[in-house]
Symmetry: C2
């Protein structure tokens, strides 16, 4: 689903939107881990089988980047995002495995105009990432800066 | 600096350690952004010059992965990490630019043995990432699961 770019004023508290699913491949898990999270259970299938999750799992940092990209690809931030200043309460609740399909739902928790810059506001966005079995694998709150309409 | 692998019991509250610096290249910023954070100010130099930071900047998710990897490469998690269950209070306090050198300092804030699994504990670790000018560019707290010695 592609949406129109959304400005600060469009991020109304309570508004939700949901991404299309993205596929998680073994190759991508290993490639990401080799650069940004070189733990054996993200990097090496054999070692992972004897590791804490019993099989290869995605780096939580990769799941985070995929989740952001899913929302970005909906078009809501096109020309309106001014970056984010932080993340709160990120929780990895279930492992993510090769072959999973992940989907991200966003909910606007709060929206606050900047007191310093009238052309900017922050939306506090709860992201809930689920797999193909509707299990929640990750939740996180971003503090997303957005341009105002004026 | 390479340290010995550290078990849960070794993560004493107040203990600190600091990574070597890592170089941030323009190529890596663009490559990461194309997969996990496709915003124009992380992806396209010309667009970035007119964007909110006035030049190309690293995806905050990339800075996060680099920061974790810096600590991982010190050897403290070798065979002892059981993954992390969450992140709290992540703040991107300054932009990260191509050519920067980043360093991560870790401080143990809290350590708590699991009530469910005596072979596991969680260390709450504050990460402070600085650039070559000693400016803090990011802080984050991880909730890192670790094997116990027994």
């Amino acid at each position: 689903m592609i949406l129109k770019p959304k400005y600060f004023e469009d991020f109304e508290v309570g508004l939700t939107f949901e991404s299309e699913p993205s596929f998680i491949s073994k190759e991508e898990i290993i490639d990401f881990a080799s650069k940004y999270d070189p733990q054996s259970f993200h990097l090496d299938e054999k070692a992972a089988n004897n590791g804490p999750f019993g099989q290869l799992t995605s780096s939580g940092f990769m799941t985070l980047g995929k989740s952001f990209t899913q929302i970005f690809e909906m078009g809501v931030y096109d020309g309106t995002s001014m970056g984010a200043w932080g993340i709160d309460e990120l929780r990895w609740t279930k492992p993510v495995y090769p072959g999973d399909y992940l989907r991200t739902k966003i909910e606007v928790l709060e929206a606050k105009k900047s007191t310093k810059n009238p052309k900017r506001g922050t939306a506090r966005l709860k992201h809930t990432v689920t797999n193909q079995n509707n299990e929640i694998v990750m939740t996180w709150i971003s503090n997303q800066m957005l341009r105002t309409k004026i």
